[in-house]
């Protein structure tokens, strides 16, 4: 999964990325800077409840931006500087996110026992 996000996390101004599954599990996280506190389960659940029905959101803060994009496996949260290009990020997500479904397939014998 790290390969899928390499292009995104490597973009200018990107500080980090988190992929949250729809049940709140952290599927992937990668930061260039550490966050203020661990991403608590309660906080993740609250955020997911607020994101119900949201396809994409972009928030502008005093010291940066956060872009959130729904994918087939969950929500991708990307934190970046205020000057990072959201248009370029959106384009990268369009290209890379379809690959997530394949990456998220379970490994081993489980994949043969689909419901």
């Amino acid at each position: 999964m790290k390969d899928v996000f390499r292009d995104i996390v490597g973009m200018d101004g990107i500080r980090g990325a988190v992929l949250l599954s729809f049940d709140g599990t952290i599927l992937f996280e990668d930061y260039q800077e550490s966050t203020a506190a661990p991403f608590e389960a309660k906080q993740r659940e609250g955020l997911l409840a607020a994101l119900d029905g949201v396809r994409e959101t972009e928030a502008l803060y005093q010291d940066g931006r956060i872009y959130i994009r729904r994918s087939e496996v969950g929500f991708l949260l990307i934190t970046m500087s205020a000057t990072a290009s959201v248009a370029m990020l959106r384009l990268n997500c369009d290209i890379l996110l379809p690959n997530l479904k394949a990456t998220a397939q379970p490994k081993g014998l489980k994949r043969f026992f689909r419901k």
Binding site: R15, G16, E33, T35, A36, A37, F39, Q43, G46, L47, A49, A50, L51, G53, V54, R55, E56, T57, E58, A59, L60, Y61, Q62, D63, G64, R65, I66, L77, T79, V86, A87
Partner: protein, 347 residues
């Protein structure tokens, strides 16, 4: 129409508990808070409040005075009083003063929330209509000689007003601090409104002394005078003063967009709506978590025909934009302004 419930209580902890426990009612009402009587009077003047919850303290306080003020000046707004359980005199005082209900402490916040829901439902016991012309509907009320209290929300500006009818006669009107004829004329300039009908009218004196038709004509004249050459109204309503017009967030947003990026395609509507408050709070917490600082504004796409730019404030401002609209440009243009709003309101 999401209603505003004003809690007047200096105990911030208690207010936080109520706010948290009333989240399940967020589709019906949102909470505005005031720590004392003075702040409450300002909110009653500037916002459209549907219900007030106040406290009667044994040590005195603003509660009784506030109840009296609401009964005299906003007789359509029900007041719920909370007070000590071992003080029957307090309950008697509250009931005699016109309180709609009295809750002895300690009480379950959910019970109080349910009582608020029951009272608020009465506001629309005669039904609710969306996107109707205020003038045509109110003429029907006059013709049918109805007794009712009608609450209206202007779709364009998000402003709310209330009209009082007894036997088809318009007795009074209110839009924020504006009352009587000026308020009635203001309401009648609103073209598309959402209307809630309550099938009774408080005992109030007639402050209008006019039939509806002359008021409608006067409102139409006011609207024509301020219309743009293309026939569109300049604003959905006449401000009380130039200062009011300049400071209204919706007008300032329009002006800021126009000044910074000129005429933009795809801005469908600008209004205020507290229904997004929970969403803004979550994004704000996320910003704290990722050390991004206070939120200025955000864009949300829910896969609908329109996206929304949200600007936090005491009331969240919503800019509906269609896919043709350059929402990135609009956000960048509004960012310095939105930051100003946030810092002003945090003072």
């Amino acid at each position: 129409m999401i209603k505003n419930v004003l809690i007047v209580d200096k105990d911030r902890k208690r207010v936080n508990v109520l706010e948290n426990r009333w989240k399940p009612f967020a589709d019906t009402f949102v909470v505005l808070t005031a720590a004392g009587g003075k702040a409450a009077l300002e909110l009653l003047r500037d916002e459209t409040i549907s219900l007030v919850v106040t406290v009667f303290e044994e040590s005195g306080g603003d509660g009784p005075g506030l109840l009296k003020h609401v009964m005299q000046n906003y007789p359509d707004i029900p007041v719920i009083v909370t007070g000590a359980s071992d003080a029957p005199e307090m309950e008697r005082l509250a009931r005699a003063g016109g309180a709609a209900a009295y809750f002895s402490k300690p009480f379950a916040p959910e019970m109080l929330g349910q009582e608020i829901m029951t009272i608020l439902k009465r506001e629309s016991d005669g039904g609710t209509l969306h996107s109707v012309s205020s003038g045509i509907f109110l003429q029907l009320v006059e013709m049918e000689q109805k007794t009712c209290t009608i609450r209206l929300e202007d779709k364009h500006s998000g402003r709310k007003g209330v009209l009082f009818f007894r036997d088809g006669e318009l007795l009074d009107a209110r839009v924020n601090h504006l009352k009587g004829k000026p308020a009635a004329k203001r309401i009648l300039t609103w073209e598309k409104v959402t209307i809630s009908i309550q099938n009774d009218c408080p005992s109030i004196e007639n402050k209008i002394h006019s039939e509806l038709q002359p008021l409608i004509l006067e409102a139409a004249r006011l609207k024509d005078e301020t219309a743009l050459p293309d026939g569109n109204p300049r604003e959905a309503e006449q401000p009380d003063t130039e200062e009011d017009a300049a400071s209204h967030p919706i007008n300032r947003i329009r002006q800021t967009i126009e000044n910074r990026i000129g005429q933009v395609e795809g801005v469908e509507d600008i209004y205020q709506d507290n229904a997004w408050d929970g969403f803004i709070r979550r994004l704000s917490a996320l910003g704290d978590h990722f050390r991004s600082g206070p939120i200025k504004l955000c864009f949300v796409d829910r896969g609908e025909s329109s996206g929304h730019i949200l600007i936090p404030g005491q009331r969240t401002t919503v800019i509906s934009v269609n896919p043709k609209s350059p929402h990135d440009k609009i956000m960048n243009a509004l960012a310095p302004w939105a930051e100003g709003v946030a810092s002003r309101e945090s003072v």
